[in-house]
Symmetry: C2
Subunit: 340 residues, 2 copies
């Protein structure tokens, strides 16, 4: 028989209430009594049944997701996944609230964090803007005992409990490695299209991409980064200008706004189309893969990120262990041959 609070109480010669006080580190237990209970826990190898505890507490975990009001496919998908999780909230004893903030706005994020703190959440997830004031607000939240998970885009500091997102440096390196091999041995120019160099995930992809290109594919020349601000129209204009002035062998689109990318590619004669690697599997990039306008799509699974965030927040709230491998967010690589 697995030991229960009853076994512990009997073994330590105390009541259930006292066992509970010790197990939950509540005050008002004499040191000697506490020691007896702890000894019993140790001796019997007691491990508490979280489900039973939650039932007794009628516990539900109020979690808040702070999401940027960014209107691109990926963020819409992320939001959809959070709503999806919210719809399962009943079964999972969670309540999931979404708070919207303007994108790329550290001050707004800080304000949101402070406001959310008031509501006494059991955990908070946010798409971080990598700024010191945000790190500070997160640190305060954590000091008040609220676990915090960064989602998709991380903070530089270690001031969060967990990051649910991909390794963006590895993503950039992988893009370079694939593109370099697709262009094997050829010499020429490679275009790079980013959203904004102010966001950490874009910066990291860029960094990884350049590092591998420089060391492994010296015959390829990187053109200056185009900042498309994830805006399809702007992306299209920038690319068409670049296509007009350079022969492009390869292109790495490391941000969003890929509708503009596709439109620009379509203006090129087939023989002049570059090898292209883009990020995030959306309707647009999927269609582009299928017709061969894009060669590979690097993806992060928003559903996995959201479910993982919830599991981690729950575990942290309970002081329980996390299955690390389960929470690692993979870099998915899609060719037209392995689309889901």
């Amino acid at each position: 028989m697995k030991p229960t609070v009853h076994s512990i109480a009997a073994h330590a010669g105390v009541s259930l209430a006292t066992v509970d006080r010790v197990l939950n580190a509540r005050p008002g237990v004499r040191a000697a009594t506490r020691a007896r209970v702890e000894a019993a826990v140790e001796a019997l190898g007691f491990v508490r049944d979280v489900a039973a505890a939650n039932l007794a507490k009628s516990r539900i975990y109020p979690f808040t997701f702070i999401l940027p009001a960014n209107d691109n496919s990926f963020m819409r998908e992320l939001r959809r996944q959070v709503l999806d999780a919210a719809s399962r909230a009943g079964v999972e004893r969670t309540r999931i609230d979404i708070v919207d903030v303007p994108a790329f706005d550290g001050a707004a994020l800080v304000a949101a964090l402070q406001q959310v703190a008031e509501t006494g959440p059991a955990g908070v997830a946010l798409v971080a803007v990598d700024a010191p004031e945000v790190a500070e607000a997160v640190a305060q939240l954590r000091q008040s005992g609220v676990p915090v998970v960064t989602l998709v885009s991380d903070l530089s500091s270690t001031e969060r409990d967990h990051f649910a997102g991909i390794d963006n440096i590895a993503a950039g390196r992988t893009a370079a490695s694939l593109l370099g091999r697709f262009l094997s041995g050829r010499s020429g120019s490679v275009a790079i299209l980013a959203g904004s160099m102010l966001v950490r995930d874009h910066r990291e992809r860029f960094e990884g991409f350049c590092a591998v290109m420089a060391t492994e594919f010296p015959s390829l020349t990187l053109l200056p980064v185009l900042e498309g601000l994830d805006d399809p129209l702007r992306v299209e204009v920038l690319l068409r200008e670049q296509f007009a002035s350079h022969d492009i062998l390869g292109l790495y689109s490391l941000g969003a706004g890929n509708r503009g990318l596709v439109r620009a590619l379509e203006t090129l004669e087939v023989s002049k189309r570059p090898s292209v690697i883009a990020h995030e599997l959306t309707q647009t990039t999927r269609a582009a893969l299928e017709v061969g306008l894009v060669d590979a799509v690097l993806n992060q699974d928003a559903g996995h990120e959201v479910r993982s965030t919830i599991r981690v927040l729950k575990a942290k709230a309970d002081g329980a262990a996390v299955v690390a491998a389960q929470e690692r967010i993979r870099l998915d690589i899609f060719l037209k041959d392995n689309l889901p």
Copy 2:
């Protein structure tokens, strides 16, 4: 307030015991009474708290994994992951037993299935051998109400509740697509190394690979498949023979025994080494990726497969829904740049 069995009992004017009988479809309830309870469930939108039910039942789910006693790295890893899950079994209310069977042996698998059925499991997972008698044994198990999940290698028939494994045709297609692009435009021979064409996953990878090669890379010629039986020694001998008689541009290793592959590759001068795609990230393939002997490794995450199997078996045992996207096993593509 969420409705509970008490709300239902009150609404229907019956006792808790009767509510329970109806909810669990137990006999001994008059049709009219049953209807009243069902109406109450419907009216109040009741959904039962599985955790509370399991607590009341002191339920643990006895699951059995039937694993081939195949001594290769992947199967060892799969077994390790099952043991890992077994070590968390207490917390998850499961008990996990492993039954060993000889590899590639349908008759032994049938015998194991029948023997496991005797023990009254709440669910069974097996690495399937794709034979009619196995399908039949699985069908019988399911008819007795035991959910069955195939793991890694599937049955042709639909006689199982779920398959926890990758799409092997897509894997083969992806290998061809990558290899074809890595060799862009060049003409020459491509070698294919399989374990055994008797196993469904290897056959499917081969099929997908050939299909894409034929339609998209006609300048590459496929050499006849080498069957290495997942045995490193045999693999090495076969490959060295082939290297002696042909110039090889590319190589797809779709089975195991990759220690032999690496040894054979090492005998070639650097300039003569082919582009290589292999399966399953193991110590051997990881090291080969890192030194550049292998260009890409296609992988299935054994940990994910095992955890997914357990979630699905639990859900099936409870008649609950599965989060489909969560249970999809991805084809991981590893270059040396995105190793975990």
